[in-house]
Symmetry: C2
């Protein structure tokens, strides 16, 4: 008799962004005239840049001719892309990565949800609170947590790392023993970023405690301060303890194109029950070799074009565009009296709700009174309660208009 994975039944409600989408749909149906501005989900709005469009057309043509057609590619990604990554994202920052340490994939969401599969099923993990929901939900679904604890508003068995104004929304190593720690830097959702020194203390901790860090650098292109590292491997010794996740969604607008990669250094190990060290790179290689047939050729050519001189220039112009939006949100809401975090090394602004309002209260109010969609901080964890996340990925016009509408509500006297 087929049994279900009862871990799925522990999950509270549906995925945050699906809930928001439903609320917005319902509002739109009731108010078809409303001009909704979406600063909720971190989805880009700028089109794919010309150099990448050109590369995709070229790849499509290749697929249409027998002489240049490509069938199954290497599950780990084509050499042309792995080498472009090594050169463009690492050598350029003084970091040596071997192409054999690079695993191309079709999205950092998938990578971050699946990476745990190579670890023991009794693993204990830590996540920031608030946190990008996928790290937590995917672990729940694989049975790495206890049940939902209604009183606490958390899952039993998870080590939460509280992020608050007191620690600048930067997680610090836990006292409890854990096996894995998920770190997102610059952080989603708070938009804050750890410096090289702060991240260094995480690497020291992980080396000392034999912990593996799952380091999500999806927002590295938005870093403006030189104190913040673009890759964790800028920290000495990080290759012994960290897996890095990277995405083209935010640096090249690939949310609908789908490409990402994972770095699993050759030096990285985890342990068998008998204490023997086992290299993780061949394990992830085997995982990808068995579970996927690699990423579409056309998409890999698109990612490669991100590293061309023209492609990179065009993509960075879009990143600048979004960062200007981030500053408009940050400065505009500060001017309206809000306390605002992030939006300096990140496309996200993290704003405190006024007068002790709950996150969903302010979400509803902004949807109804300003027709602006945001993301309630409480959807990212209990320490997100009392905050909202706003993204800078809208158009300039919409971003300016949204800020004006929120200012006009005079929520803070």
């Amino acid at each position: 008799m087929a049994s279900v994975n009862e871990n799925y039944l522990k999950l509270q409600g549906s995925y945050l962004f699906q809930t928001i989408a439903k609320k917005v749909d319902a509002y739109t149906k009731a108010h078809p005239e409303a001009k909704i501005i979406r600063l909720g989900i971190g989805d880009v709005t700028r089109p794919i840049v010309p150099a990448i469009v050109e590369a995709m057309h070229k790849a499509v043509d290749e697929m249409g001719k027998a002489e240049t057609f490509r069938g199954y590619g290497p599950e780990q990604g084509y050499e042309f892309l792995r080498e472009a990554i090594v050169k463009g994202d690492f050598k350029s920052r003084g970091v040596d990565i071997d192409p054999g340490e690079v695993f191309v994939s079709d999205g950092a969401k998938t990578d971050s949800a699946c990476i745990q599969e190579i670890f023991g099923s009794d693993l204990k993990f830590a996540v920031s609170d608030p946190v990008y929901p996928v790290y937590l939900d995917s672990n729940i679904m694989f049975g790495h947590t206890g049940p939902w604890n209604e009183a606490k508003g958390t899952y039993d068995g998870v080590v939460y790392l509280p992020c608050s104004p007191e620690n600048g929304f930067k997680p610090v190593p836990p006292k409890e023993k854990v096996d894995l720690v998920y770190l997102c830097n610059p952080s989603n959702p708070t938009g804050t970023a750890m410096t090289k020194e702060e991240l260094g203390s995480w690497v020291d901790y992980a080396r000392r405690e034999k912990v593996v860090l799952i380091y999500d650098a999806a927002y590295e292109a938005y870093i403006t301060e030189t104190s913040v590292p673009h890759t964790i491997y800028e920290i000495e010794g990080a290759k012994d303890v960290a897996i890095e996740l990277r995405s083209y969604s935010k640096c090249a607008g690939f949310t609908g194109v789908r490409c990402s990669y994972v770095i699993v250094p050759h030096a990285l190990v985890a342990y068998k029950k008998d204490g023997t060290a086992v290299e993780l790179n061949p394990l992830w290689n085997r995982r990808q070799g068995t579970f996927t047939n690699g990423t579409a050729y056309i998409i890999q050519r698109a990612a490669e074009a991100y590293y061309s001189e023209e492609g990179h220039k065009e993509c960075m112009a879009d990143v600048d565009y979004y960062m200007t939006n981030a500053h408009i949100i940050r400065d505009g809401l500060k001017a309206a009296g809000f306390t605002v975090y992030g939006a300096t090394n990140s496309p996200y602004a993290w704003i405190e709700t006024p007068k002790g309002m709950k996150s969903w209260e302010l979400f509803d109010l902004l949807l109804e009174k300003a027709n602006v969609v945001t993301t309630p901080g409480s959807g990212f964890g209990p320490h997100g309660e009392g905050y909202l996340r706003l993204t800078a990925f809208g158009t300039r016009e919409n971003t300016e208009e949204a800020v004006k509408r929120i200012q006009a509500l005079h929520l803070i006297q």
Copy 2:
């Protein structure tokens, strides 16, 4: 301290096709002059058809313009594709499928490896022997088997369904209790196909025993006999017991384009430990919503074009081309004295090795003496020993040449 998933260490050697690739690479390096013909991995060689190339160019252009740019799509797939699937693959065969039962994805390999995640972790499963390695290996990696049993050449805890000339290489329901059964029809690797009646007895069994069938119909486009169903849902009652996996790799040449889909009927349930029935459709929906951001927009437009009048006609012409190759292999090797199965409803021919040779012996012999790459049957399971799989996905010229070279060896007097 981070521990490894020790289930990975149970795996014997590396993924079959990676092993073959290494052998061929080594041979090619030693004999750079050899003109190798690859009839091993089931990879297509015909380019993407014009109607699909055109659809991809159009989608690429849309992604390059702000007005038509698409970011994150629905994790389940765009409505335009789900509706095209319902109409093109099911309504056309008298089967009603709701678009909400369709989950678009980027490859049937991934789908077949991941679908088990929604079932209880103590699941017991059955697979054909020989079998497509991914069903088995992915279950090993998730800990659903015991260790490798060297004496038997099988994994403990797995229910193998022997396929041999005696049963026409068609699996029959096991006596042991299982939760899941993987069925591939037409079968990879044997190329044989169950009729509607034979599949009907599987559906009856599954309904009686509350077993879920994972039905892989990746090769349905190659069915030529009317007695063989194109979808399991042609069998009455199948929606209560079966998940169907479909792929565009073989019907539209998408091995490098990457698109597939899964049907999880609303009627399908599995059970909690307390005996409560739970619908599987919302569970897979949640899995996809948490673990993926959907399939690339451009790729979904490519799949949609497969269902256009022009696209379908062009794709079916390629299917015919490959089926002619299949007949050339089947008839040519029969003429040379080989016993050949399959290649009638499938692009695969399954040939018996002569004189009791081992699969890898004949593989090596054909690689070295005929420079033809095949797949050793033993790589698909112990009952595959003594067979080779040949694929019809080569060019006409290479297929004819490979058959001539094998005939010229006069292996069978």
